[in-house]
């Protein structure tokens, strides 16, 4: 089966302090995503998550390896891949409509301004901002700004949506609502999405595949979690699902201890053939057998 996104052995190195000395952020990263899938990278700061996303976006280039999207190697940026930035990155001198129209005009330069505005309005409505088209970003709350960022990214109807911790600057309530909306939009449009997050629950709720990275420098992809939760999950009763705690505990355990020790305890780790696990399913990693009650205690301690 051909993969829609295929990251093939990429590494990113920066020149070190002395000549000939290099710092490797991450190494030999192989991962792939099917069309319509939602992928999430989790890892500590410094493991190169943002760099991976920037490489996917074409804003950065890998030192080794290549990224193939839809059968073509990624060279530079493309209107096929939209980015939702952590800090929303709206142009403050433009209105909501102006910001979205800016993206629409970039994609379809020949459209009339009426058609551009109409198209932009459709997406402003999609993220629930109808009526705020003529406000400037400074007049919007953090959540509304990020909605504009989402509308801008979606308005160019990208083949792929890249999100760099899009909700980390928002308060918990706003974050929850926006997660719901992003999930709804992604499911409705069958959008292939790739997201970076620090938030374990966000990853479990949104992602089909969760990629766990070890600590940098010299980070590698340690495990891929195939999310065992059903596709029709809702944020409200997510935690009641029998597979929820096994997955959550597995990720938290990984982040707390194993992300640090993974490479020493697994010297035979093959970065090209990363184990795909699905905690909670029979015959998987041992930690799910302990049951949710015990793990809850462990979780609280961590």
């Amino acid at each position: 089966m051909t993969k829609f996104i295929s990251i093939e052995g990429i590494a990113r190195r920066y020149p070190g302090k002395s000549a000939g000395d290099t710092t490797t952020i991450f190494e030999d990263l192989w991962l792939s995503l099917d069309r319509g899938e939602f992928g999430c990278i989790i890892g500590h700061s410094g493991c190169g998550k943002t760099t991976v996303l920037n490489i996917l976006a074409g804003l950065d280039a890998p030192s080794e390896g290549a990224v193939i999207v839809d059968g073509k190697e990624v060279v530079g940026t493309s209107l096929d891949r939209a980015v939702i930035f952590q800090s929303h990155a709206l142009l403050p001198w433009r209105t909501v409509l102006g910001n979205v129209s800016f993206a629409v005009k970039s994609k379809w330069p020949s459209w009339s301004s009426a058609k551009i505005a109409e198209h932009a309005r459709k997406f402003i409505e999609l993220v629930g901002l109808a009526g705020s088209e003529h406000k400037r970003p400074s007049e919007l709350s953090g959540g509304m700004k990020q909605r504009v960022g989402i509308a801008r990214a979606l308005s160019i109807t990208p083949k792929m949506l890249l999100m760099d911790e899009p909700f980390s600057a928002l308060d918990a309530l706003t974050r929850g609502t926006l997660q719901d909306e992003v999930r709804r939009i992604c499911l409705e449009t069958g959008q292939t999405s790739f997201m970076i997050t620090h938030d374990v629950d966000e990853a479990i709720f949104l992602a089909d595949k969760i990629f766990l990275m070890t600590n940098g420098p010299g980070a590698v992809l340690a495990e891929i979690i195939q999310n065992p939760l059903p596709k029709e999950r809702s944020r409200i009763d997510l935690h009641k699902h029998p597979h929820y705690y096994p997955v959550r505990n597995h990720i938290v355990d990984f982040l707390v201890t194993r992300s640090r020790t993974f490479l020493t305890t697994n010297p035979a780790h093959d970065t090209r053939d990363v184990p795909v696990i699905s905690p909670g399913q029979p015959g998987q990693a041992p930690d799910e057998d302990e049951g949710p009650a015990i793990r809850l205690v462990a979780n609280a301690r961590s």
Partner: protein, 279 residues
């Protein structure tokens, strides 16, 4: 509360002005008869000796003279007797011409310097050396090469106005937020459109601040340049009236220079506010 603050500020300004005018008036008024002398001789001597008046004109005298100038600002009675309006118009014309040339050169050049770290580093030493040169130091060189005093004055304005605009434009362009540039990059916005729709609006407040500093310097320099070059302009007027020993006219010229400078500054201040965006 802000309204009352404004009212109080205006009142205080008025009080300061009145106190200043009063001090000026009492410091320069005559002290009555200072010396007794033959009336024929006294007529020749003037008020300083006969009434003990100060050589410095008082505010009433300056006010009267100012009124005369304002009532008829554009008369022209030959090279050494032109209305204040004509002299100011010459100076403003020179400043605007030199300043416009500086804008045309400095902003595109600053854009290039700001966009390219290589060019920025390469030209930095030249800018650092050229920037602190007093604009008037260029005057002999300008007179020698251009061989025309009027054009030389404009050149001096150009050379003094260019640096703040160049440096601010380069700085503003170089410090446009990376995320905005990245937005443009991910949207595959071409370089020309990126320059006009992202970088220019983002750097506009810094560029306008540079332009505001420049117009201030240009207006400072034109007075000195016209004193050197002569012929017309408010700087020449000041020097000419000094040679006429008309301190009243010198004071009036100083006042007008201040007022015009303030108007220039206010116009650019408004323009800066127009392009400033809240974040």
């Amino acid at each position: 509360m802000t309204a009352s603050l404004n009212v109080r500020a205006v009142l205080l300004s008025a009080v300061i002005l009145i106190v200043f005018l009063a001090c000026w008036h009492f410091a320069t008024r005559g002290t009555g008869v200072a010396a007794t002398m033959d009336p024929e001789y006294a007529k020749l001597m003037g008020g300083q000796v006969t009434q003990g008046a100060s050589a410095m004109p008082g505010p009433l005298e300056v006010g009267k003279q100012l009124w005369k100038h304002l009532a008829n600002p554009f008369y022209d009675n030959g090279p050494n007797d032109k209305g204040l309006g004509i002299q100011l118009a010459y100076s403003i014309g020179r400043v605007l011409l030199g300043y416009s040339l500086a804008v045309i050169v400095a902003i595109p050049l600053g854009f290039i310097i700001g966009m390219s770290p290589l060019i920025s580093r390469a030209v930095d030493p030249f800018i650092q050396v050229l920037k602190p040169i007093s604009p008037l130091a260029w005057m002999p060189l300008a007179l020698y090469t251009i061989k025309d005093s009027a054009t030389s004055a404009i050149f001096v304005i150009f050379i003094c106005a260019i640096w703040p605009m160049l440096i601010n434009t380069a700085f503003g362009v170089a410090s446009v937020r990376k995320e905005w540039v990245n937005v443009a990059r991910t949207l595959e916005v071409g370089p020309i459109r990126r320059a006009f729709t992202v970088i220019l609006p983002a750097a506009a407040p810094t560029i306008l601040t540079g332009m505001r500093i420049s117009i201030g310097i240009a207006w400072l320099v034109i007075v000195a340049a016209e004193m050197l070059v002569g012929g017309t302009g408010i700087g020449y007027f000041v020097w000419n009236e000094w040679n006429n020993l008309s301190i009243t006219n010198v004071i009036i010229a100083i006042l007008m220079i201040g007022v015009i400078g303030m108007i220039f500054d206010q116009i650019l201040g408004r323009a800066t506010r127009l392009v400033t965006f809240p974040e």
